[in-house]
């Protein structure tokens, strides 16, 4: 019960005797109430402002106003609950020199005592109250001295409002940093969520420990002490993803190479296979590889073409085992149709290839996702380290590798496994990077232009470190989404450009100018003399000579390059099928023809 028991006047006489005093007491009480309301209101408002100057809410006038008003209301309510009642007035009268006569009269009247002593005491008390000397009464207006506090507090309030908060820049920085960390944590959370949404067959490539660390990453970024620590966390996570990527990179590269090679193939089956690979559709891959054996009944030329494609694809693949698989399949295609044993072997190899390709596709897709995640981490780290604000970080996150279009564009660059030195010139991704990427290995454009030995293509251009090294005759688009956050901590910008038609092919075009016309010995015509060459045919085979019945012996003619090349190539394939070479030499032949194309 906040409200105290109020004492009313027990008798009219006493009330009248103390009426003047009561009025003055109440007036002084309300004046004092006003002073207290103002004092507390101003004090709380000033206190809030002063206190908030030490906090991020350094200029919160609204809160100060609310606090001051609340304090004023509380004081007013509290004072309203304890307005001086009759007993209080009586006590004040006694304090003014009545020596308890007033309170004695009050109590006796209250108890309605009727004995002569009480009556006399009441009479004396009322009389004393009535004759209370004027100079002892409560003054009409109290002293102004207590009001000085209000002036002082008003001064403080004005000063705190008008003077800038010295800690404001600090808190602004802190707030921006917190927002940046929150934005980074949010973006990191989105990246991690995308990783977590990977299908199980892709997710299995993500180590459990790394998965747990990634789960905790948004929180650790959010609660980091400062940007630097958050950036370190992000970089560490990105680096760990990079480590996983390093493991997946050969497969991913093989995938890109195969898909790129077969997508441009003349064989519809291989085109379909490329599409299935890119989709990562294991069933479709199995179906299509199974169809390879159906080609056993087709013409030898068709089988040869397919085998050539296989060989060529094998040559693009860096993984020796996979390359050997493709070679075997190519050989089995060439030799199929003859006997049952070869057919069974081909079937086994196609099944093995189907499994391999399906796994390859999943690894590639996982690698792609991981690459995007890693790029995003590095981008975020770079953005944080570069002092970007929350909005910029949010934009960074939205532009980092998460865009399917960027990935698609990047894929285009994979075709450019150019070996021609002149073809690498203009293959750098055309997407503008936000910062100059270093030559580091972690460009966001990792998904694009996977073939790149020329990681330095991104240097200084703001394009991805791995982007766009394509070139060569196929005109692979080398303009994958460049991002270019280097490992070295230089710029954190991430490219947002989607891959478009590559420009890298131009390099190849210019470099190939010397092959317009070519000497074609096969078209010389006429038979030559039989030539015998001494030596062993092949290691382990008997004989010291071989015959070359169609060896040209006359001068040939100059023919267009594109007319001659298929003939040369077909001849080479036939030769290889009839006279197999050791694998490394056979590889040289294929590499030669591949490079010509």
């Amino acid at each position: 019960m906040l409200r105290r028991k109020r004492h009313d006047w027990p008798d009219r006489r006493l009330e009248e005797a103390l009426a003047l005093l009561a009025a003055r007491v109440r007036r002084c009480y309300w004046l004092e109430t006003g002073r207290l309301v103002l004092t507390w209101g101003l004090a709380v408002a000033a206190g809030v402002l002063v206190l908030f100057r030490l906090t991020p809410l350094y200029s919160c006038l609204f809160l100060a106003g609310i606090g001051g008003a609340a304090a004023a209301v509380v004081v007013f309510v509290w004072r309203s609950l304890s307005i001086p009642d009759a007993l209080k007035v009586v006590q004040i009268a006694d304090e003014l020199g009545l020596n308890g006569e007033a309170v004695t009269a009050y109590r006796l009247l209250e108890k309605k005592k009727q004995d002569s002593w009480s009556k006399f005491a009441v009479e004396k008390g009322v009389s004393a109250c009535r004759n209370l000397p004027g100079e002892r009464l409560v003054p009409l207006f109290p002293s102004w001295r207590p009001w000085r506090g209000i002036v002082f507090l008003t001064g403080i309030l004005v000063v705190t409002i008008l003077l800038p908060a010295p800690l404001a820049p600090y808190w602004e920085v802190r707030r921006a940093e917190k927002e940046a960390l929150a934005a980074a944590a949010r973006q990191a959370g989105e990246v991690v969520a995308q990783l977590q949404r990977m299908p199980p067959e892709q997710k299995e490539f993500l180590p459990e420990k790394l998965s747990e660390e990634l789960d905790a990453l948004p929180r650790t970024v959010g609660v980091a002490r400062d940007r630097r620590e958050a950036a370190r966390n992000l970089e560490r996570a990105g680096q760990e993803i990079e480590d996983v990527l390093a493991f997946l990179e050969p497969a991913e590269r093989s995938f890109r190479q195969l898909a790129g090679a077969w997508k441009n193939s003349r064989e519809p089956l291989l085109k379909e296979l490329a599409a299935a690979l890119e989709k990562g559709d294991a069933q479709e891959i199995a179906r299509l590889t199974g169809k390879l054996k159906e080609l056993a009944n087709s013409s030898q030329a068709a089988k040869n073409r397919l085998a050539l494609e296989m060989f060529q694809a094998g040559e693009t693949v860096g993984d020796p085992a996979r390359r050997e698989n493709l070679r075997k399949l190519a050989r089995s295609l060439i030799s199929s149709g003859g006997n049952e044993e070869a057919g069974e072997s081909g079937e086994k190899e196609s099944a093995s290839l189907a499994r391999d390709l399906a796994g390859l596709a999943q690894q590639a897709r996982a690698a792609g996702r991981l690459a995007r995640a890693s790029a995003a981490m590095f981008s975020l780290a770079g953005a944080l380290g570069g002092g970007n604000n929350a909005a910029a970080i949010a934009r960074t996150g939205s532009g980092t590798g998460a865009q399917p279009s960027a990935n698609a564009g990047g894929t285009g660059g994979s075709g450019g496994a150019a070996s021609g030195s002149s073809g690498a010139g203009s293959a750098a991704g055309s997407a503008p990077g936000s910062t100059p990427g270093s030559a580091g290995s972690s460009g966001a454009g990792g998904s694009a232009g996977a073939g790149g030995a020329s990681a330095d293509a991104g240097a200084g251009e703001g394009t991805g470190g791995r982007a766009g090294n394509s070139g060569g005759t196929r005109g692979g688009s080398g303009n994958g989404p460049g991002s270019g956050s280097g490992n070295e901590g230089s710029g954190g910008g991430a490219g947002t450009g989607a891959g478009g038609p590559g420009t890298g092919g131009q390099g190849a075009a210019t470099s190939g100018g010397g092959y317009d016309r070519i000497y074609a010995p096969h078209l010389l015509g006429g038979s030559g003399q039989e030539t015998r060459v001494s030596g062993q045919i092949r290691l382990g085979q008997a004989g010291t000579e071989t015959s070359l019945p169609d060896s040209p012996v006359e001068l040939g003619a100059i023919r267009p390059y594109r007319e001659v090349l298929p003939l040369y190539k077909e001849e080479a394939i036939n030769s290889l099928s009839s006279a197999p070479l050791p694998p490394d030499l056979e590889s040289l032949v294929w590499q030669y023809f591949t490079s010509l194309e």
Partner: protein, 356 residues
């Protein structure tokens, strides 16, 4: 009961038809203002009469008369020669009451005060009869009370509290009114024994008698070394003081004033959280409820002697030092630091607000 009254002069006192008697007879029709005015004037006469003998010491006289009105015993403390005995003798004379003086010495025995059984083979009630001691008087001056042993000092306990004396298995009432006005030398003096706390508590007031001023000394020299020593007249009629004692208890004291006295008493107790810090530090034992009784009775007496029907806060404050100082048992730390009870009582009065 043995007839001892004859051995005590003026034992049979008659209550005068004073205002007090009238007040008791018909409460609703009594003339209270007249009674109060009469008492006030009579006490003023008494003060004037005493002042004719005792030079200065107005405050001491005032407090002694207040204590008499309140019906309490008084302990006067002061070095020898300050007129304590003369004051008590004068007061006794002015009040017209029987007076006995007992000089306390180390070899004084309790029976020397209260009386003893003596052999009387012709006695009607047996071979032994009670011979009353000097305590059987209206006003007993226990001079230098702290020179007797605590055992002898304690002989006064029953007399002061119960106003009776027990001897030989029989209890004898003391005459009404009965006042013990004791004097004591400061405890620092040689050959003194401190009064037991229980007995100290039975004194309504302890009044400190201070040295007279130069002007007062001049008057003392003039008044006491002349040919005629002044004598105070006996002013009060028999029973008049007894009537006043009853009037004192009719003075109105409302609960607000009593509450103030209660808070003062509580503030002297060191274990009370509202006690001043110095009280908690220097006081071992605070005032007992008798202290509260002394405050309220003293305040009533103050009001009566000023002709007021009610006692107020100022009356409480006025009697507080005399009523409380001997009830504070100070610690050794206080003694070491020279802190006195008066200082602490003053602090209590300073810190306890009149209104709560």
């Amino acid at each position: 009961m043995p007839d001892y009254t004859g051995s005590v002069e003026n034992q049979e006192v008659k209550e005068a038809p004073s205002a007090g008697a009238a007040g008791e007879s018909d409460a609703s029709r009594e003339d209270v203002p007249g009674i109060l005015e009469g008492v006030k004037n009579r006490i003023k006469e008494m003060e004037d009469a005493i002042a004719g003998v005792i030079v200065g010491q107005e405050e001491v006289v005032h407090q002694v008369l207040t204590a008499l009105l309140a019906g309490g015993h008084v302990l006067l403390e002061g070095v020898p020669g300050l007129g304590k005995t003369a004051l008590v003798r004068t007061v006794a004379r002015v009040t017209g009451l029987t007076f006995r003086r007992i000089q306390f010495t180390p070899d004084l025995m309790p029976a020397d005060i209260t009386g003893t059984q003596i052999f009387d083979e012709k006695g009607a009630d047996g071979p032994f009869r009670f011979s009353p001691g000097p305590v059987f008087a209206n006003i007993v001056l226990a001079d230098e009370i702290n020179r007797a042993t605590p055992k002898t000092q304690s002989a006064l306990l029953e007399a002061m509290q119960e106003r009776t004396v027990t001897s030989g298995g029989l209890t004898y009432p003391l005459p009404e009114p009965f006042f013990v006005l004791a004097t004591q030398n400061p405890l620092e003096m040689e050959g003194t024994y401190p009064l037991p706390e229980a007995q100290l508590d039975r004194f309504l007031f302890k009044i400190n008698v201070s040295y007279p001023s130069a002007k007062e000394l001049l008057a003392i020299a003039d008044r006491t070394t002349g040919a005629a020593e002044p004598q105070a007249p006996s002013l009060l009629a028999p029973g008049e003081l007894r009537g006043w004692l009853k009037l004192v208890r009719r003075v109105v004291v409302v609960e607000d004033v009593i509450d103030y006295a209660v808070r003062l008493v509580l503030a002297t107790q060191p274990d009370n959280p509202r006690a001043p810090e110095r009280v908690r530090r220097f006081v071992r034992y605070g005032s007992s409820p008798r202290g509260l009784q002394a405050l309220v009775l003293g305040a009533r007496a103050e009001a009566l002697r000023e002709g007021r029907p009610q006692a107020g806060y100022a009356d409480i404050r006025r009697v507080a030092p005399a009523a409380l100082r001997h009830r504070l048992i100070l610690s050794y730390e206080a003694a070491a630091e020279g802190i006195g009870a008066d200082e602490l009582v003053a602090e209590v009065l300073e810190t306890v607000p009149v209104h709560q």
